[in-house]
Symmetry: C2
Subunit: 254 residues, 2 copies
């Protein structure tokens, strides 16, 4: 069991929405939800039976955890305005260093690695949560809390977390962009995109079996210049042709 | 039911191995397996109770279908040496035009879209099979046969199939390469790659829900130049940095 019982949520976006509810369902006491916009604060607070707060000086000082669920660029600013609290102050960002919170006694990071949209339900049990604490005590309190929400909890320092964020952008945003390119190619040629669904799912499944490099196949991998040349001729969109050429080069150099 | 009963397989690689067995299990009569290497021909033929043949002139002329399961660059050559047969002659390649088989009375394409390795079992029911025929009759015979193996059967012409092959390379080979890059970044920083597994599986799942462009998120999508700059600084490998920059640009231009 975690030593954290009383939680204040700062922020009212997608992460605040899902994380507050997951904590609520896990039995935590959601004391307050802070948001500069009173209506947004009310909307999030209502669902977790918390007090909505829109003035930062009204934030209570006796909670065990203050979770900053706000966009990267506002974390430092909101932290500066926060009263001198005794509990752990933690942000939920993948790319911001823990040190922006160093004015507090105890601080840390509680980063759930998943794409959140308010409209889509999140199965938190499977969401990896990456924790870091300013002291062993803070870190273990955050990790215990994380284990109440998820079975995938890891301790990472700020450098590791920032590298992981790069890896996540590559493995999620970039691959999605490639799927979108494949979709467009299909649409332009009246090919049902469903034809590619099994291949897409299989590619992802295989990527979780070990080192994806061991499963590399295709023209670039076998340096089949004839097929590569044919493909470059078939791609009408210049930007996509550049992308095809560079990724092919990168695979060939492995 | 397909009008095709007797099948000759030409080739002994991964596609020949899996496709011959799927046809055998579906009740087709595998008459012969041809391979220039007698041992390889024997290995494939044995599993499907066919006669192994290593001289192309020994190929029977009265089969209903001759399936060329050979590498792209050898298809035209093997086709040239094949006796004048009466059945449909079809190749199984995504990127070769149907016309390389135009010397035959009836010809076509029977292209199963999946990555095959001899060692891994294939659930053929889900594998999309793309068919094309030199006549309506040939095409419908190939499609009926495909439906005996799979529930995902589509008719595509040669241009569509070649465009689809480009899309498949992008959606499979290229995304796998990006997963491999993410894996390397994790390994270099002592981050367990398992942290990214849920995100990878979720990315693929979402890509099958509609147009992946509608699910695009991340720093490039929201034109967050600060995070992008941070990431470029964090990437030590120059080739990966180029890749990051180009894909980011491509997303920003959507």
């Amino acid at each position: 069991m975690s030593s954290i019982k009383k939680v204040v949520i700062l922020g009212t976006g997608n992460v605040a929405w899902h994380l507050s509810f997951a904590l609520f369902k896990a039995g935590l006491d959601l004391v307050q939800v802070f948001g500069r916009n009173a209506d947004s604060a009310k909307e999030v607070a209502k669902r977790v039976l918390a007090e909505p707060v829109s003035t930062i000086n009204d934030v209570v000082e006796n909670a065990d955890l203050y979770l900053l669920c706000i966009s990267d660029k506002n974390i430092a600013e909101v932290a500066k305005k926060l009263p001198e609290v005794k509990g752990i102050v933690a942000h939920t960002s993948g790319s911001v260093s823990m040190d922006v919170l160093s004015q507090f006694q105890e601080y840390g990071v509680f980063y759930p690695l998943q794409t959140f949209k308010k409209s889509a339900e999140v199965v938190f049990e499977k969401v990896p949560i990456l924790c870091e604490g300013s002291s062993n005590q803070a870190e273990s309190a955050l990790m215990s809390l994380a284990f109440e929400l998820s079975e995938n909890v890891f301790s990472l320092n700020s450098v590791q977390r920032q590298k992981l964020h790069v890896a996540a952008v590559i493995a999620n945003n970039f691959t999605n962009h490639l799927f979108a390119q494949a979709y467009r190619l299909c649409a332009e040629n009246n090919i049902p995109f469903e034809v590619l669904h099994p291949l897409i799912l299989e590619t992802a499944r295989k990527a979780t079996l070990g080192n994806p490099a061991d499963y590399q196949t295709g023209p670039a991998h076998r340096k089949d210049e004839e097929t590569i040349g044919k493909h470059l001729n078939l791609i009408e969109n210049a930007a996509l042709r550049d992308l095809y050429a560079l990724i092919t080069k990168s695979i060939e150099q492995q």
